[in-house]
Symmetry: C2
Subunit: 192 residues, 2 copies
């Protein structure tokens, strides 16, 4: 199916954080339709799947304004200009969870609701953690919640952990978790 033709675009609203754009489209069958979207704001995001030496995931509990409630999720934020994705992941981890990572590995670029918004967020897997606290722009300290990898299924079905991009990020890292858990099992076997 060929892409529709963009006949015109119009900025409908611009606020400090958001922009709404109208797209006048002509589809290949001649149908014309006005769509609205939140276009990409320039910077992409990173979402960090960090595992410590005890094979615990670093989760955070923070205020979610969209629902006016506290929610359990993964550290995340925007990549700054000139910053690599891996550096952004380590910085956000230090700001939100108090740890930096020796190893950061890009896993996959995710979209959120691509029919309506141009936002993308990149999953980064972080290991080799060590304590490092950086000051972020958070209005209050964020609660750190270490979660054992062995209890991953319980986390995925928990009502408090319901953010699609966080669930997707963990699902994509699952093979890497298995490697970490297998290596830990191997170590215990050798020690006995």
């Amino acid at each position: 199916m060929p892409l529709p033709e963009i006949i015109a675009t119009e900025t409908l609203a611009t606020t400090r954080f958001f922009k709404i754009e109208a797209l006048d489209l002509r589809f290949s069958n001649g149908v014309e339709r006005r769509y609205e979207r939140l276009p990409a704001g320039g910077a992409e995001g990173v979402i960090v799947v960090a595992v410590n030496a005890q094979n615990e995931l670093l989760l955070i509990r923070e205020y979610a304004a969209g629902f006016h409630e506290m929610q359990l999720t993964l550290p995340k934020g925007l990549v700054e200009p000139e910053e690599s994705m891996e550096a952004a992941a380590t910085r956000e981890l230090a700001e939100e969870a108090g740890f930096a990572a020796k190893h950061a590995e890009f896993i996959k670029r995710l979209t959120l609701a691509p029919g309506h918004m141009g936002f993308a967020i990149n999953v980064v897997f972080a290991t080799g953690l060590y304590p490092k606290q950086l000051q972020g722009d958070e209005p209050e300290p964020i609660e750190l919640v270490p979660w054992p990898l062995q209890r991953l299924d319980e986390l995925l079905s928990s009502e408090e952990f319901c953010e699609a991009r966080a669930i997707a990020a963990l699902a994509l890292c699952r093979p890497l978790f298995s490697q970490l858990l297998d290596a830990a099992d191997e170590l215990i076997k050798r020690e006995n």
Copy 2:
């Protein structure tokens, strides 16, 4: 951590599809901050994980205005007033993929970017499929892409399949896929 207090709210913009709201917040440590969000629009969404009798996932390829490109994803849409989630899932499946489902099972409610928007979408697992085409509001026919469950990992790592809520939906249904594949294996064994 207690929830911040909402001191004031202000509607910054309203368009046909979106609303932007400002929230003036006071956190428990006294810090005041203005947040912006896209509040819930009333209707929640459904995203449909449908598997046919050949153990294929029903994917669709459709126009994603946020990126102005065609993307592979799952059927989805809004729950209409007075409609159950399961009924909405079957209707969207018939509109977008040309199938209805005898069995529809709610799996989990997902948020997208809860720090910034109040949108939620409900994962529904659908089986017992039979052909049924309903007319939706799509401007052009949607391409149906049946995808064998056995090739799930390939799908999850594919660049064209990158929507976080679709990846999360599949990850949450993975144990159900295993049951279907095990049952198919069992059937083949018995027949031999």
